[in-house]
Amino acid sequence: MQCNGPDGDLLALLAASRGLNARIFSLLRLQLLQGLASLGPDGATYRELKAALEVSDGALYANLKALIAMGYLEPEKVSVENKELESYRITPAGSAEWDRTRDWLCRFCECGGDRPAES
């Protein structure tokens, strides 16, 4: 009998999840936080986000608005070739929340990553 499973770690992992903000756990919100975290204070414009993530205006706008309301993103007006554009950058609170979430997801995938053997 093997007794070296990840149960102990799993319980700690589940307990740690209670410190996370469950409202950021949607694909698009995670993609936005991950993408904007790596751009730091530079951020990205709405049109860049839309082109890279290939989502509808409705979905993008609603999720950006939700992350702004949580205090994780902040909008800014920028000018590119005489056009005024909306740009978004991650806040220190957003960056900290993303770090926590990323660390937890990495641990979660390692602990819960057992797959049934392929036949």
Binding site: S38, L39, D42, A44, A51, L53, S79, V80
Partner: protein
């Protein structure tokens, strides 16, 4: 030491190009990012690490350095950091591209896909069009054409093949122009 060398080369390149960046301006940070990438790929000798982000290729290190040494970036001066070949690269860059964000965004992204990701030109074109879909098609085509001229010029053999391939059309078009003139 390497970092200082990088910065010196970049600042002197900007001086040669007559580019006086305002580091606090989003638009100018695009120009800094993409012009350094293109110059680096051509052989300027800088070593900024670029990775693909939502906005295309981007170097966090370069961005941090521009803010950390903002007065130097915003008053570029000659500092003897470029040799003759490197000055020639900067001159060619200046003669090929305009310092316009949309053009350099497309050029830098295309070049990154080809030179860093090792994609063929067709796939690089396809991905650039997707990532920079907000740039009008005509501007995209112009930027990619200039990037090819700057970084991937055709070999003599390719040029000869193209001449052979287009010879018939060229001859027909000259013939038709002559007839219209007569």
């Amino acid at each position: 030491m390497t970092v200082l060398l990088n910065r010196d080369k970049v600042i002197e390149s900007f001086h040669q190009l007559g580019f006086v960046p305002r580091v606090g301006e989003f638009e100018d940070r695009i120009l800094i990012q993409k012009s350094v990438l293109l110059l680096q790929l051509k052989g300027l000798g800088t070593t900024y690490p670029y990775r693909l982000h939502l906005r295309g290729p981007y170097s966090e290190e370069l961005n941090l350095e521009a803010f950390a040494h903002r007065p130097e970036f915003e008053s570029p001066m000659a500092r003897g950091a470029l040799d003759r070949d490197e000055r020639a690269i900067v001159a060619e860059f200046g003669a090929t591209f305009e310092l316009r964000p949309n053009q350099l965004e497309v050029a830098g992204t295309y070049a990154f896909f080809v030179s860093c990701d090792g994609l063929d030109h067709l796939e690089a074109h396809r991905r650039t069009r997707k990532l920079k879909s907000f740039v009008p098609m005509a501007q995209q085509a112009l930027a990619i054409s200039r990037t090819k001229r700057f970084l991937y010029p055709p070999t003599e053999e390719e040029t000869r093949e193209m001449k052979d391939e287009f010879a018939v059309w060229q001859s027909a078009s000259l013939g038709s122009a002559r007839r219209e003139h007569d």
